[in-house]
Symmetry: C2
Subunit: 636 residues, 2 copies
């Protein structure tokens, strides 16, 4: 057996080593104050002058000698001839010690009449009211905000010394192409170092991305040697697993010391930490989500430890909408979508594949599952760190069920109205469970034709639900997609691809087999089960299977042949009272609008004749013949 | 009477007018994806290709035909000769349909032995696993985060269309000088438009700051006309009050329509809104804190309404540490410092003067007091919107009492340790009240010499407190500061400046009068009462008074003559159990360190011989003779 990692370093130990093995570089740069937003000041900033430098009028009016005003009153107007007209901010001329607001005076030729005495100092801004010369404006380590810049400018501060760190980032891998070059088969765009640069630069670092180094030990060694000499921190991307061309660990050891290779963190396990010439070298895993974890939890943490601007963390306590499993002994990080259903915040885990970057894109936060935990039940409470403006959470609609491009178009329209749709691809069954837990606003479901419903275990399970309402999104044709036309009597010789059975009831495939008198056991094996109708079509297009069951829309998007087998109804199921929820009411208006229908027509063949129709299930569950009476599509 | 504003527009009406009077400009620009952090996408982004395009190895290992592996088991090793060595990410060669991890194999010459059968599709990333061509990557209106950029790059997206808005900003005022020019008396650095530019650019706008226009109606008209023609939004700074040279409202009316002048918002009242050629024109008040309110609550809100990146809002529910008054009918915004004392978040209002920019700099959040409220009692619960990383709140030490530059030096050192000191200038009495409410960690207090304590009402009030501990910061010499040496028999002919009586017991001044047998009534009036010892010295230096009572440090910093009258002890008072709080324990270690003493010696004359000494008051209050037994300085 080849052992990939001799031993895994715990997250805690890895962070401890990272934070304590290297001196703080204390690198600084001087920048114009106008370009300092989000930067961290390197040295305390003291006021170079007193502001205001002299006493000023705090109001528009007249500067007066307060003793002249004694005796003025409601019944005793007093005429002042010794005054100076001042506007707000004007210097108080010598001898005057109070200002009377212009609205408290009546002009009378070249005099002013007043009806109230002025107290000494009244409406005068004393010298130094804002700050005195030599006083502290910003402590060392202060993170500069927009309004701080206003104050600094007012005090005449034009430039600032702020902290920075020089980071060299080396992408390695013969399969990589730079952004802008279209990758061939098996090639990928080198994007992990772009993420690292964007993330770390936002903290105030200066990242230098070096050219892609192919999997050649000597080239990697040379790149690493010069990057470590020129920077305070080096990230080297990929080459960190145990493949035949993973040289990073070996090269680090040859130039310095490898502190550890492999951390008990998922995703992120192949991470490594070394030291070359006293400088830390972090080996980033090649998988994008693993790279993200290491960028955020290790590289970002080190820069924060070195005094750069922390990435803001806003934790929200949520309940898990779905159970989450986790490997005992591994600290896991998972992308989560958070929304508020009723009075409760729910967190829906997104896909956890280490390469599915869309999981992070779709999520609005992430959760950390500590190493001693094997997972959590649905309903468990934990903190999610938001990656979006917290204010958006109140306007987020959580959906759990079957995904379809129709939802993407709805999501676009919703965003124009300030609504955020977050959806989990949990299938019909997952959607049903979420509705039972009240952990989603609504569940998009794919409901079979009435004639097929009796065969569907899923539809039978709907009987247990009371008070459901259904918002019809669209009718969707389902059928056989293939690269070449298929003959009905050759179905049993094809390699098939279907959606995973845990996602939704593959009624179409069952129906097809039954209609063709095919014995599932005689089929040559389902090569792939994939996550969505579109993935089925992609697999057929790519030749991984000869035929698959998917929507006409998915098949036509790939230019595949398509034979219709049945129609399914794409429905949004929800508890009846949820129809009164302002977010859902807003959403329903969008579903019913012309813009949504137009978007559906553009996007693919959808039957939109019933789009936006709402029906309610009877409060009492129907009898066993739900295909006739109780099913949503039966009613629609 | 001159009426400044004919009528004030409510915040709600003003926002309604702002949001509904202007079409969304829908201005876009195309930028490189690598420069898109924090921007908002203008059009939905669909995947230009399927990722991965073909099936790939998900692990380092061997690609196999799954049917060849049937029969392998723990007791039945199976030797495979038909395989392809693959690294993670390699294309699966035709014919193979599973990958076996290298650690689950034993190499055997040019064959591999396995002990477990492979399922079809095992460790293969199917084509389209991450995304399929044509599927939605980012909805319209999506705010781009660092890790989104990674996904976009992976999908081969090099450029993005994002939203922007062109904003023209006109600074007006003959008293203004641009940043970099030292202002003369009565001049100020033009900083409000810098704030506006920094704040709005961070939302994705392109602001153009025009040159300073002096208070000349024709010049302002011409600047406004061309700015409105060239931009989607115009901000015109100042000239919005009712001074003799406030022309903004008049000029807007001459070029277009003035929608309102004056809002029931504090600070920010003189704000105005107009329309010129269909474009909104916002008149910013001249006072910096009023300008901030209008930039954040109006200009920022309009850009958010237009779809730009919102300024993130992190609300934290806090209890008010001090009572807050508010004008009925005015929506007020006040800078607040938030910290956690025990299990409770407390918010301490900073100074609310509309020109004291340091109040915003010192605060870590702000609160909104709605118009129908006249104020809140201490202890009232309300939301504060943080202006700093929420994580820092847990490491914030709240102090309430007498401010002194010694605290600034302590704040610098604390920041190096990841601690944040937030202090409110509430005086001895305010500090005492805060301690009673447990709304601060500790109260910095200025304690008179034992011989003066019997005269001090404040020290008597300390008797009511039990279980107090005192951390000695430094001894501070207090005395008379003046520009020219003062003769003891001329004291009653001087114009004096003192600190405000509500800030701390002005024992020194009382003692001086008593020692000199002076009758306070015979003094020619205290021209100014100011907020701190340093402000006293500034007022004397500026000639607003002939003499003042302040610290030697403050006097010498201004080059004033100084005659010592008494010593006071600068002490940090706190409840004894607070000494065990980790933040305070950390702080105490800093107070006792050599670095702090060195900083105090650099900063000014301080007596540091006792710095860091802790004493506890007896649990039972002492008798009336607290100067001998019960007082902190008596014990130290």
């Amino acid at each position: 057996m080849v052992k990939r990692y001799l031993s895994l370093c715990s997250l805690e130990n890895a962070l401890h080593l990272l934070k304590t093995s290297f001196p703080v570089p204390d690198r600084r740069e001087t920048i114009p104050v106008t370009a300092s937003l989000g930067r961290v000041v390197a040295a305390p900033v003291y006021a170079p002058c007193t502001v205001p430098e002299v006493s000023l009028a705090a109001m528009d009016g007249i500067a007066v000698k307060s003793r002249d005003t004694l005796g003025a009153g409601d019944q005793a107007a007093l005429t002042l001839r010794d005054f100076a007209r001042v506007n707000t901010g004007n210097v108080i001329p010598p001898g005057y010690d109070a200002v009377i607001m212009i609205e408290d005076t009546v002009e009378d030729g070249d005099a002013f009449r007043i009806r109230k005495a002025a107290a000494p100092g009244q409406h005068i801004r004393p010298a130094g009211e804002d700050i005195q010369k030599g006083r502290l404006v910003l402590p060392r380590g202060h993170l500069i905000r927009a309004f701080d810049i206003g104050a600094l400018a007012t005090y005449g501060i034009t430039c600032l010394e702020v902290r920075t760190v020089h980071v060299g980032i080396i992408p390695t891998g013969s399969e990589l192409v730079p952004l802008g070059v279209r990758p061939g088969p098996g090639q990928v765009v080198e994007s992990n170092t772009i993420m690292a640069q964007v993330y770390l630069d936002a903290m105030g670092a200066h990242c230098t991305r070096l050219p892609i180094t192919c999997d050649d030990k000597d080239l990697i060694r040379e790149a690493l040697r010069s990057a470590a000499a020129a920077n305070d921190l080096v990230l080297i991307s990929a080459g960190s697993s145990a493949g035949t061309r993973d040289f990073t660990a070996e090269v680090i050891s040859s130039l310095g010391t490898l502190l550890f290779h492999g951390v008990a963190v998922k995703p992120g396990k192949p991470m490594m930490l070394g030291v070359i010439g006293g400088k830390p070298v972090i080996g980033l895993p090649g998988y994008p989500l693993a790279a993200q974890t290491v960028i955020r939890e290790f590289a970002g943490t080190l820069l924060e430890e070195w005094g750069l601007a922390p990435a803001q963390k806003f934790p929200v306590p949520v309940r898990l909408a779905t159970p989450v499993s986790s490997d005992l002994g591994f600290d896991e990080f998972l992308p989560v979508s958070v929304g508020r259903v009723g009075r409760q915040y729910w967190g829906m885990a997104q896909s956890r594949g280490p390469v599915v970057q869309m999981a992070t894109v779709r999520a609005n936060g992430y959760a950390h599952i500590p190493a001693p935990v094997e997972g959590f039940e649905a309903g468990h409470k934990l903190d999610v760190f938001l990656t979006t403006d917290p204010a958006t959470i109140q306007r987020t609609i959580l959906l759990s069920g079957v995904m379809d491009p129709a939802l993407e178009e709805l999501g676009n329209l919703a965003r124009d109205e300030g609504l955020y749709i977050h959806a989990g691809n949990t299938g019909n069954t997952g959607g049903l469970l979420s509705l039972r837990r009240n952990s989603c606003h609504a569940a998009p479901m794919m409901i079979p034709e009435p004639s097929r419903q009796s065969a569907s275990g899923f539809v039978r399970s709907l009987q247990g639900m009371r008070d459901l309402a259904w918002i019809h999104i669209a009718g969707i044709e389902q059928g056989i997609a293939s690269r070449e036309p298929v003959s009905p009597d050759a179905l049993d010789r094809l390699r098939w691809v279907t959606v995973r059975r845990d996602l939704f009831s593959p009624t179409i495939f069952d129906a097809l087999l039954s209609d063709s008198n095919l014995d599932p056991k005689r089929l040559p094996g389902i090569t792939f089960e994939v996550g969505s109708s579109a993935a089925v079509a992609a697999a057929v297009e790519a030749g991984q299977a000869d035929a698959g069951i998917c929507s006409r829309q998915a098949a036509e998007a790939r230019g595949l042949c398509f034979v219709r087998v049945a129609d399914e109804q794409y429905e949004l199921a929800l508890h009846c009272p949820m129809l009164d929820d302002p977010l859902i009411a807003h959403l329903l208006a969008l579903v019913r609008g012309q813009e949504f229908k137009a978007a559906l027509m553009r996007r693919g063949p959808y039957d939109t004749t019933q789009t936006g129709r709402v029906c309610r299930m009877p409060a009492e569950p129907a009898g066993p013949e739900i295909g006739r009476a109780g099913s949503p599509s039966g009613l629609i």
